[in-house]
């Protein structure tokens, strides 16, 4: 964990109050974001996202599965996060596990919508091959390689990029099957289907330090936070999920204010991310 | 009691609570010499006992038993199993006793209490060997399907005499048990027939296999009483504090016809002589009658 002396803490907080953070950023400025796609050839889609010293990889694997009986018209998505002990020694033990499950839970909240499946960032209906019988199960794995704050935004961006990079093979299903039998399926080797990621939201975490809140906090800044609100916003400006961290309370009006700021920040982030993703995709095609 | 003079003097000066903490044994012996316990009970009397039935709506039968502060919640879930070939027309009872961290400061999450599996085992030995339940009553279709009843007992508050309270809650839960009405479907599986009104697709058309057997007949209901042997005193239904100070515990389980189901004493500094055993059995008989009355009141409503 980051340890700062009292005076350093004071220095960091002072910088935020003066709108000049230790690396020269303003409160709502993100660090440079770099995206690489297709970093894991075995996966159906993958991406690496670096935001300053934070470095994460996300991969998407698609497997044939069976829809749950409660939602026969939808595919399934599972999110797992692994915090590598290389990123920080404390990730090795239970601390890493706890953080991993917390991040996975927050990402699931942001991406998968309500229990009925409505409002999901990933259109689960597209994953169905044959209703009630066959669907795609998406396994999204996130790996934190290096951690310098703002893991959730980075992971959210990496998952978005990995989904944009994902190609799912076309599947042909034998049409007529008896009620209680599994249909035969034929997975194509050549034809692939790109994944529509227009609905995938971006996550903006606003970290409250002192009386101000900042975007894209570094680990040093996070160590000084009183609370942080992670808001996932989709292209249409709707909130797709929200998680608050940190114990201290916030006035309801502050939260509403943060939501509107997050919406604003998300637009720039979304555009930046989209252009980075397309540049990365172009780069990958080139090589 | 031959207390050393120093503490005698101290006790008159000291605060009662402080004396209780520093010289717990002397504190108790003082009371015992006057045939009274710190909670104003006579030696042979059990604490107030309350039983409530049917508190858990997700279970098929449930009961809450409270002896003094000691609280137990027992619930039964009925599931279907294929009976073993040795006893094709018998069901099964699986009993588990839990001590969650809420019940006592000594239990911590991730480290199950030492006492829990032991009490679990004693409960299943006692309930199964008492013959309270005829396992044949749990049969649905001979050789094909029988009930497996999962009895889970949670200790919500541990303040001594855990076994007594657990057994009481278990018995009460069985008396509260309502076996779901079920039918055999085409695939050979047992399915529930939901209550009236509900138009279940095909299950309701089937003949119920257990229309009459909605309740179990309980005979030879066991009741138990734990006593502390200390010097020549016998203290019925000890609290956790008493258990921690005086370590010789005797648990007598008698059934409704005063047959002995279990006489359990494991170690302890005091040896049990015939006279003490007889007194414990007498106390247990008396306690059995009290409990019968408490349970009897429940059966009326």
């Amino acid at each position: 964990m980051v340890g700062l002396s009292i005076s350093e803490q004071h220095f960091v907080k002072g910088g935020i109050a003066q709108d000049l953070r230790t690396d020269g950023r303003k409160r709502l400025t993100y660090r440079p974001i770099y995206v690489e796609t297709g970093v894991i050839p075995q996966a159906n889609g993958s991406a690496r996202v670096r935001i300053g010293g934070t470095d994460v990889i996300a991969s998407v694997k698609a497997e044939i599965g069976r829809p749950s009986s409660l939602q026969p018209d939808k595919g399934k998505v599972a999110v797992f996060i692994d915090c590598s002990p290389t990123a920080e020694p404390t990730f090795g033990g239970r601390g890493g596990e706890e953080l991993s499950s917390e991040l996975a839970l927050a990402l699931q909240r942001c991406l998968l919508g309500g229990k009925s499946g409505a409002g999901a960032g990933i259109n689960l209906s597209l994953l169905v091959i044959k209703e009630g019988k066959v669907c795609w199960d998406l396994y999204i794995d996130g790996l934190v390689i290096s951690s310098d704050g703002n893991l959730l935004d980075a992971l959210g961006a990496a998952i978005k990029a990995a989904l944009a990079n994902t190609a799912i093979p076309k599947v042909n299903v034998s049409t007529e099957v008896a009620d209680n039998e599994q249909p035969e399926i034929d997975i194509s080797d050549e034809e692939y289907q790109q994944f529509d990621t227009s609905g995938v939201p971006v996550i903006v975490t606003l970290t409250k330090v002192g009386t101000h809140y900042i975007a894209d906090a570094t680990a040093e800044e996070e160590s000084q936070m009183s609370s942080a609100v992670s808001i996932s916003v989709n292209r249409s400006g709707h909130i797709c999920g929200l998680t608050k961290r940190g114990g201290s309370g916030l006035d309801p009006s502050v939260i509403l204010d943060m939501i509107s700021v997050a919406k604003h920040v998300s637009e720039t982030l979304m555009n930046k991310l989209d252009s980075e993703i397309s540049a990365a995709e172009a780069c990958e095609d080139e090589s | 009691m031959g207390l050393p003079d120093s503490t005698q003097d101290l006790s008159s000066e000291m605060d009662v609570d402080a004396f209780r903490r520093i010289f717990p044994l002397r504190f108790f012996e003082r009371h015992l010499s006057e045939s009274l316990r710190p909670d104003a009970r006579p030696l042979g009397k059990a604490r107030d006992t309350i039983v409530n039935l049917g508190l858990v709506s997700t279970a098929d039968g449930s009961a809450l038993a409270k002896i003094g502060s000691t609280t137990m919640l027992a619930a039964i879930r009925m599931e279907v199993m294929t009976p073993s070939t040795d006893s094709p027309d018998e069901g099964c009872i699986a009993i588990e006793f839990h001590m969650p961290p809420i019940c006592s400061p000594t239990v911590r999450p991730g480290r199950p209490a030492e006492a829990a599996p032991v009490i679990s085992k004693r409960l299943s030995d006692t309930i199964l060997s008492s013959g309270m339940i005829d396992l044949k009553e749990l049969c649905l279709v001979s050789g094909k399907a029988a009930w497996m009843s999962y009895l889970d007992i949670y200790c919500l508050d541990a303040d001594g005499s855990l076994f007594d309270a657990a057994l009481l809650s278990a018995v009460a839960a069985f008396s509260n048990l309502k076996i779901p009405v079920v039918a055999l479907n085409d695939n050979g599986r047992i399915v529930a027939i939901n209550g009236e009104g509900e138009e279940e697709s095909n299950a309701s058309k089937k003949e119920a296999v257990n229309k009459e057997k909605r309740k179990l007949t309980l005979k030879n209901v066991p009741s138990s009483l734990t006593c502390i042997l200390h010097k020549s005193y016998i203290l019925a239904d000890p609290t956790a504090e008493e258990e921690s100070i005086m370590d010789t515990l005797v648990t007598v389980v008698l059934d409704s016809s005063d047959q002995m189901v279990s006489f359990y004493k494991s170690g302890g500094n005091v040896l049990a002589y015939s006279s003490a055993i007889k007194s414990c059995v007498e106390l247990a008989k008396k306690r059995g009658k009290e409990l019968k009355q408490i349970l009897g009141e429940m059966d009326i409503d």
Partner: protein, 278 residues
């Protein structure tokens, strides 16, 4: 540890400029962690050999500080023990400041031991001199002069230790800017508002702290980012290079935060090539 971040995304023109600059610096593009022996490029540190076009450098797995007696180091207190403080110096062994060090404490009583946190608490940044090696290989630090002691009002940057050469003085007071710069031999660099290092004997007076003036803060940030860029590029840290980079960013009117972008990295490389050849 600061990870090498040379994998900057460069535009086509930036790439070309970067390459030329690197070539001018040292042909065949010898990066840090390498040296030329008998026309052969050898790795001088243990790590992964990385090639960026023609640039060859060795990314060290874990660059650790190798102390020498007399080094000025900057470290962070990680533990307050019975009579001493354990300090993180990025050294393989433990380093300690002893309680009975002359300048820390004249007399030593058991009450002082209880109040050790009043002098240095966990996570405090301290500046000290390497005193001696203990028998077991651990290091004893001295807090001798008035310059040593707890550091206040600034930020700590960590670079690979071999980027900081043992050139005295390591304390710099840049008067024109009102900035203190301490280049610790262990790669820990302190940039902070100028002020006298507080006598460790004086008690922590946390309340009276006020915010650093914005202008000073801007300078601190700019110098901090300059050091960051130099560290990314693997250039040796000296006062001159740091100040030159600082001035370059100022004259080019580069926003403090944009210093960490690709363009400024290329600029600094070009500038360095110019400097060595000019």
């Amino acid at each position: 540890m600061v990870m090498r971040k040379l994998e900057l995304p460069l535009s086509q023109t930036q790439k070309v400029r970067f390459q030329t600059a690197i070539e001018r610096l040292q042909s065949p593009a010898e990066g840090h962690g390498t040296s030329e022996v008998d026309d052969e490029l050898l790795a001088t540190v243990c790590g992964v050999v990385v090639r960026v076009d023609k640039l060859v450098y060795v990314r060290t797995l874990r660059a650790r500080y190798k102390p020498q007696v007399g080094d000025i180091v900057v470290g962070r207190v990680i533990e307050v023990a019975q009579t001493r403080w354990r300090v993180d110096l990025n050294f393989t062994q433990d380093s300690f400041i002893n309680m009975h060090d002359d300048n820390v404490q004249k007399r030593r009583t058991s009450v002082d031991e209880l109040n050790m946190r009043n002098i240095f608490a966990e996570d405090d940044v301290v500046c000290a001199e390497v005193g001696e090696f203990h028998k077991d290989g651990s290091l004893i630090l001295r807090v001798r002069s008035q310059k040593h002691g707890k550091l206040d009002k600034g930020q700590l940057l960590k670079v690979d230790p071999y980027l900081v050469k043992r050139i005295k003085p390591q304390f710099h007071y840049i008067e024109s800017l009102g900035i203190d710069l301490i280049l610790g031999c262990n790669g820990f660099i302190w940039v902070g508002e100028h002020g006298h290092v507080r006598d460790p004997m004086t008690k922590n007076t946390r309340k009276e702290q006020s915010h650093t003036p914005l202008e000073t803060r801007q300078t601190i940030c700019r110098i901090g980012n300059a050091i960051q860029v130099l560290s990314n590029l693997g250039f040796t840290m000296t006062l001159e290079v740091i100040m030159e980079t600082f001035k370059l960013s100022n004259t080019r009117n580069i926003d403090i935060h944009d210093m960490l972008g690709s363009e400024f990295h290329v600029l600094v490389t070009e500038n360095e090539a110019e400097r060595r050849h000019g």
